[in-house]
Symmetry: C5
Subunit: 97 residues, 5 copies
């Protein structure tokens, strides 16, 4: 999975019928210092994530193994909201609660 | 999914029989500022998209989960036309209507 | 799919039995100006393409959805020969006929 | 597979139900000199690997072919702990035992 | 497929049970001039390839379509040993026999 921050939304009226009602979010990918890497992906939300939250994105066929995405033409899904994340003993992110 | 702009077409007479009648479009990939990234992909159109439109492209096995692409040797599909798209509070694209 | 030009061949005697008799071609990937990008892929030919031809290559599991590649350990297939290809109103390639 | 070093953990309360109880580890990818490449991936642990260990990560649909990941929305799995690793006659890594 | 040269081995005692007895080889990826590109992949050997040999590597789900890899968590397989390889009329590699 990749770690990203939810940065925006995509609105689409004309889309595959099976994607009706799915929330399409723009996720900016974070590097191992929790900085934006410059890349992004549009993913279907499967966990009720909101703008600004740090999340995990699964890609490829694995992106279809949630209730929100099963058998749908989506190649990326948000399948976890990150509470905290550490690398080499340093906390890179902690969700405000 | 990636966001792209439909920039051209590919014409092919000699192709896998199962792709007969499918529209093959050249989609230039857009970065998170809605500028061309330099990359492109050739995708089958599943939603009746036209030249210049901004669209979502799904890749890999998920590209086969539309009526237009099921069980066909296509690794990319246009599965949504983008009406609008925003990142970090700024509108990156809005379709003229 | 990616657009490429068939630039060479790979000869292999010792290979998975299911690939016996399959033609393995070296395809140089073209960028959106129809110039070589520096990348290449080795793909199984499913459409009788020849050296110098411009073709479409499908990758991943979709590369197995042709008669030539079904259930075989191939991750790339040539599934269309390009007659012509245009981007932003300019013809990037036209096959001599 | 890619070779990486386990560098951290991701904690997530709100995640796909099928991932409940799975350990999510941050793996820094190593290059062919066993140095960090700058890339990382978050992977589910299938072999009881610990912080600092060098491991193999399988991606894509193959990441679901372990007991820990079957039918789950995970696109990366740690499926082996590396005891030793050599390239061109030089030992790049040997686990302390 | 990618073309690579077998450069080393990975030894792993603690691994997914289904990979028991599989040979894990480090393959350095070659560019279109048959020079090392800097990249590598760890692949399961399905054809009895040896150190120094030039081989084809298939990735993704296609990497599971050999006897050695079926239903196993491997995302890369060596499925052919290259006898010779030419690009643009020049022989890039020929196996000593």
């Amino acid at each position: 999975m990749q770690i990203g921050r939810i940065a925006g939304t995509v609105v689409s009226t004309a889309k595959e019928a099976s994607l009706e009602g799915r929330k399409l979010l723009v996720v900016k990918i974070l590097d191992s210092d929790a900085k934006e890497s410059g890349g992004y992906v549009v993913a279907v939300d499967a966990v009720g994530a909101g703008l600004g939250e740090v999340v995990l994105v699964a890609s490829g066929s694995s992106a279809r193994l949630t209730e929100a995405t099963r058998d749908r033409p989506s190649d990326a899904v948000i399948m976890a909201i990150v509470d905290s994340w550490d690398i080499d003993g340093a906390v890179k992110w902690r969700k405000n609660t």
